[in-house]
Amino acid sequence: MMLPTTTVGSFPKPAYLVKARTLFSRKKISQNELKELEKEATQEIIKLQEDIGLDILVHGEMERGDMVTYFAERLEGFGISGLVRSYGNRYYKKPIVKGKIKRNSSIALEMFQYAQSLTPKPVKGMLTGPYTMCDWSFNEYFETRRDLVLNLAEVVHQEALDLDRAGAKYIQIDEPAISTRPEEIDLAIEAMKIVTNGLKAKTVSHICYGDFTTIYPKILDLAVDQLDLEFANSDFTNLEIFRTPAFTKEVAVGVVDVHSHEIETKEKVKDNIKKVLNVFPLEKIYIDPDCGLKTRTLKEAEAKLRVMVEAAKEIREEMSAAHVRKECCEIEKTH
């Protein structure tokens, strides 16, 4: 199908789950009680995506807080994270590397399998990339950042292999930090080769906070089949850089802005889709929001996705109608 629709990964957590997470952190409810609620919420998110009509689903990350901390807290070698402010009144628990990183059991597998069991549509397996894991952690153990990144790459590779063996059609390894230090892009590329080595699944990497000018076309060397990029938030001003040299991978294009409360109109989103049709080959384009939806309310997230899916559908119909007209013309001409 042309222009399949998907999302980047996270969905907003329902109020009962937010509350349960607080209670769990205060040791007022058990791990099992929390897990039941995470599964309940996952079920709702899968159902919502089917209802909206998305083509490739995500499990919604109901069990995760921060995308780096979630994995760090489940890996050997990381110590207890400390609270650090990122901006305004927002804080995150920044992991601390205290020793060699080892994985004792699968981390992402269980929730992936659960979510995939609920739907015949493909669900993406979601991982955080080794470069971002390193960049968003303190390092008290490794001599160099490279040593840490390559150790993390091995661990994320094991996670990816588990998802692959469990039948994931798509495995997404997010690297939002990749544009932070353009001088380290070769390291991020080296690490991704380790992560995706030998996978059967289609691989995706989401990159955001982007000044793509500093990392394009180098980023085309990242060992994934698809790059998932944000465009709507910057009003597509960065689109032109992808013309030369030509983009060689599949691309998932962010056509709705996840940082604004405002729901885009269908016409606006259709315009956005038309803009990218001029730059990327049609058969390589996927349609999705700019970034994870967890900072929106569930209502806003749903409304944005409905508009997006509807806009993609209309563009598809317009294009096949145009295609039919063109064929008719050609038939007339030959006669």
């Binding site: 994270s81 400390g82 609270l83 650090v84 402010r85 990122s86 901006y87 305004g88 009144n89 804080y91 920044k94 601390i96 960049d135 968003w136 303190f138 390092n139 008290e140 930090a177 932070t180 230090r181 906070y209 940082h259």
Partner: protein, 326 residues
């Protein structure tokens, strides 16, 4: 004797659940659950705690921890006519963000940004205190210019506005004023412009003035930056370890702030390593001219780590000075 100072910001919240919590107070204020006065009380309690922690650690020259600042630029931009505050942008190579000021029209002084904060610091501290200003070039470079279309003109205009702030700080009793210019490290070709801008801000002030350069290298700024019209230069020896050799090779009569405790990583410093660094430096430069400090503000660290690092820093300096009983 070596002295100690800090660069500026400090963690706003602690792991201690019984301490006043600015984070939750700000959340409650946003949800209209507490009044402006109640929020103000938490601000003041927090700043007093931060002052006390630096004093108890034994730092000689302290700040208020910039507890009321969201970032380095918006506290100033909000008080400059002609700036609008824009979206979030990554702050250098940190996983931390600032709101980008946008110059929409001619910029002019609207109100003082830090004078009341400085007064509060002075009244509540028994130590020497330092005021901190964003540098005019760094403020210009981190902003979006939709009016001047000329970074030099924007920088010099901002320098004039910051001059007013510096003069007022001096009037209310500031004896130490630090100007942060991290952006200069990444654009050494702008050194003449920044020299001119710093002159506008600091010329003729009686207060002792420092220029602090963190996150970057000083290779192409030496010896030029030693000709700047300030009393001292602060250098980050962690982000760029080679900065130390550059300093030691150059002769200057300026005072120095040496950022040699990592403000961006929790890994604890070793006392013996700091001591050998102090040895090395004081063989070339008189210890009377040197302040030891973290490499940048401490807010990139969790509170417990920030505090531990301050203690290690002061203890090492005391050991070096043979004043351990202080």
């Amino acid at each position: 004797m070596l002295k100690t100072t800090v660069v500026g910001n400090y963690p706003k919240i602690t792991e201690d659940r019984s301490a006043p919590n600015l984070r939750s107070a700000l959340n409650k204020f946003d949800q209209k659950k507490i009044s402006k006065e109640e929020l103000e009380k938490v601000y003041q309690e927090t700043i007093k705690r931060v002052i006390k922690e630096q004093e108890e650690a034994g730092v000689d020259l302290i700040t208020d921890g910039q507890i009321r600042w969201d970032d380095l630029v918006t506290p100033f931009a909000r008080n400059i006519e002609g700036f609008k505050i824009g979206g979030l942008i990554r702050f250098f190579d940190n996983n931390a963000y600032y709101r980008r000021p946008i110059a929409k029209s001619k910029l002019s002084f609207k109100d003082y940004s830090t004078v009341e904060q400085f007064n509060f610091l002075k009244q509540n501290s028994i130590k020497k205190v330092k005021a901190v200003l964003v540098g005019p070039f760094t403020l210009a470079r981190l902003s979006k210019d939709e009016y001047y279309d000329d970074e030099d003109e924007l920088t010099l205009n901002l320098a004039g506005i910051l001059r007013k702030e510096a003069e007022r700080l001096e009037e209310v009793g500031a004896e130490f004023i630090q100007i942060d210019e991290p952006c200069l490290c990444f654009s050494p070709e702008k050194i003449d412009l920044v020299d001119q801008a710093i002159k506008i801000v600091a010329d003729g002030l009686k207060a002792k003035t420092f220029l602090y350069l963190y996150f970057g290298e000083i290779k192409d700024l030496i010896p030029g930056v030693f000709g700047f019209q300030v009393d001292g230069i602060g250098v980050d020896l962690i982000s760029r370890p080679e900065n130390l050799d550059l300093l030691l090779e150059s002769a200057s009569d300026k005072e120095l702030i040496l950022g040699c405790v990592d403000g961006r990583n929790t890994k604890p410093e070793k006392e013996e390593e700091l001591l050998s660094l102090f040895e090395r430096v004081t063989q070339k430069i008189s210890d009377e001219k040197i302040y030891i400090s973290p490499s940048c503000g401490l807010e990139f660290l969790p509170h417990s780590s920030a505090m531990a690092k301050l203690k290690t820093m002061v203890q090492s300096v005391r050991k070096f000075n043979h004043t351990e009983d202080d």
